[in-house]
Amino acid sequence: MKDIVIRTVCRVIVPFVQVYGLYVIFHGHLSPGGGFAGGAILGSSMVLFALSFHLEAGAQKLGHETSSYLESGGGIWYILIGLLGLALGSNFLTNRAAGLGFGLPGQLFSGGMIFLLSLGIGVKVASTMFTLFYNLSEEEGSGGDHQ
């Protein structure tokens, strides 16, 4: 796909899509969406970029290795945040009871750690998308996908 139109359009669109993806991730506790949806949007933006330019171009922006590191990192992040609730003397994944605050309508940083959890999920889903894309596009496919 070396079409100049596609490339130009994508170059313009991709940042917007990414910003939207981030928006969806960060407003997961306030409005529809969240880590899953936002991560998918973010991930598809990267896939779009890689598709419209070149596989290598995509790989330059986000390498295969980095992508899978991010994937694991997202999961670890999630679990660690969950364990934070324990560290604060409450249940796993506890938010409100541990005094981390409760979501207030319209305020971005009001949801305590939900925000951070969404971030973890978003990163994980986005990088998973990208890894999947690589695995299917390249000749060597790694069998084990996981979620």
């Binding site: 899978s68 694991s72 990192g73 609730g85 409450s90 994944l93 506890t94």
Partner: protein
């Protein structure tokens, strides 16, 4: 703090599974000790949880501090800790074996993925055992499906790929049925938490009898596919025989059982007992289990590949678990449940022994196993113990489960099922014992040149499991005591 242990152990497993892919190059050597220590820690936790539940009774845990019906709830009762103990102990032992065996079955680069999938599988199975709501059940069900397929297809064999594809499609079908069942339940009651659903269902029977019935049948179909109850078993022989041996051991020993435990929990805690009086669901399960027991044994008799034979034998043995559920008497349930543990012990041991033979001698065909016992006496000795246990010779744990199942059937005045159990034992004898005999006696076949030495790290787990078979044959008291509390009807 100790109340947090169940969730901590699941979190620990998930954490470890995410960490695994991060271990690259130099750090790769750390993967195995790390995995083993995590598994060991979970096993220790499960033992402590048994003590905890014994001493202070069942307790529930609200993830995120949200009370049900909103929050995700874990319910840690006797059955749950029993299953957790079974899962973690077998997983630990199999991993000790697998660490050595896998290097010759799969490529070194994907070993870290194997650990990831393995830990995920264990985490999801523990999740299924502990969960108290349909939501979490479904999530863990799906994770376990994918990771179970993953540990088959990680061996890039054409048989493995095809088998895991078949397994995947049918499992997803099963999950779909379960999800639809969950939807039905939610439609009727408006809840997903077991306790709340159980509260609502008795009133709902009069109003929506068909929906409840449909939900129940969907659950049964869904879980039967996953646990390979007889007519829905078609995926199992391929999947379990082609997988790497440690995967086969876990799949046959644990994975199919956890779904049986899940359906038991649903029948037990969610659906009202009056329903079973109206609808012959249990009789259908019984009928299928009898078919499974007989058909599995008969199919196993005609197999030539040793792992395939073991896989078919699993179909028969899962029939025993379902027979216990279907009979639904105290003692029969006890027999079915204790068979989960007993069969996990013996079948994983048999698969590991078969794997050891394949590793050392490169033999898969049963006819070529002649004289292998002379070369590998310990392995075949363990295999013989497993075979005796399958037949139900007293002094092995297979006897204990058959004893309780048979007594349970008699308690309910159904000696027919005792006859089925005995017939199946006879069939087991007919196909297991000749292997043992041919291995030790009779015409020797010249060993092939490629005979490898058996590493101690692979032999020890097999011997540990064999010792377990004998030990729990003579000393099943603690397990039975635990289970007796688990099934107070």
């Amino acid at each position: 703090m100790s109340l947090h242990l169940p969730v901590i152990s699941i979190a620990l497993l998930l954490l470890a599974s995410f960490v695994m892919p991060l271990l690259r190059r130099g750090a790769r050597a750390a993967a195995l000790p790390f995995t083993l220590s995590v598994l060991g820690a979970v096993f220790t936790v499960s033992l402590y949880l048994i003590y905890l539940v014994e001493s202070r009774g069942a307790f529930s845990y609200h993830v995120g501090g949200w009370p049900p019906p909103w929050g995700v709830e874990l319910y840690i009762d006797h059955l749950a800790v029993y299953m957790m103990m079974v899962l973690s102990s077998i997983c630990l032992v199999v991993m000790v074996y697998g660490a050595r065996d896998l290097y010759h079955e799969i490529r070194a680069e994907v070993m870290s993925w194997y650990y990831t999938l393995y830990l995920l599988l264990l985490a999801s199975m523990i999740g299924i055992a502990l969960t108290n709501d349909l939501f979490t059940l479904f999530v863990f069900l799906e994770i376990s499906t994918i990771s179970a397929c993953g540990i088959i297809s990680i061996k890039k064999d054409r048989e493995c790929i095809e088998a895991s594809f078949k397994y995947l499609i049918l499992s997803v079908l099963g999950s779909g049925c379960v999800l639809l069942g969950v939807a039905m339940i939610y439609m009727i009651t408006g809840y997903l938490n077991y306790d709340f659903v159980a509260q609502e269902l008795p009133q709902a029977i009069a109003e929506y009898p068909y929906n409840i019935l449909m939900a129940l049948s969907l659950f049964i179909v869904g879980f039967s596919v996953k646990s390979a109850l007889f007519p829905l078993h078609i995926w199992l022989p391929d999947a379990h025989s082609s997988a790497p041996s440690p995967s086969s051991a876990v799949l046959s020993g644990l994975v199919i059982k956890i779904y049986a435990a899940a359906i038991l929990r649903l029948l037990f805690r969610v659906f009202p007992a009056e329903l079973f009086e109206v609808v012959p669901v249990l009789d259908i399960l019984l009928f299928l289990s009898v078919l499974a027991v007989m058909a599995g044994s008969i199919f196993a008799m005609v197999q030539e590949d040793i792992k395939r034979m073991l896989a078919y034998s699993s179909i028969a043995q899962i029939g025993f678990v379902f027979m216990g559920i279907g009979l639904f008497g105290n003692r029969a349930l006890l027999g079915g449940l204790v068979h989960i543990f007993n069969h996990a012990l013996m079948k994983s041991m048999l698969f590991l022994a078969a794997g050891l033979i394949i590793y050392a001698a490169g033999i898969r065909n049963i006819r070529d196993l002649r004289g292998i016992g002379v070369r590998m006496p310990l392995t075949m000795g363990a295999f013989a113990i497993g075979a005796f246990s399958m037949v139900g010779i007293p002094g092995t744990n297979g006897f204990i489960s058959k004893w309780h199942l048979a007594l349970g059937a008699l308690d309910l005045g159904r000696p027919f099922f005792v006859a089925i159990i005995l017939l199946s034992s006879l069939l087991n004898g007919i196909y297991y014992l000749p292997i043992v005999i041919n291995a030790f006696f009779g015409v020797k076949i010249e060993p092939r040149s490629e005979h490898r030495d058996v590493p101690g790290m692979m032999l020890v787990p097999v011997l540990i499991l064999a010792a377990g078979v004998i030990f729990f044959g003579f000393y099943p008291g603690p397990i039975l005591a635990l289970l007796e509390q688990a099934i107070v009807l």
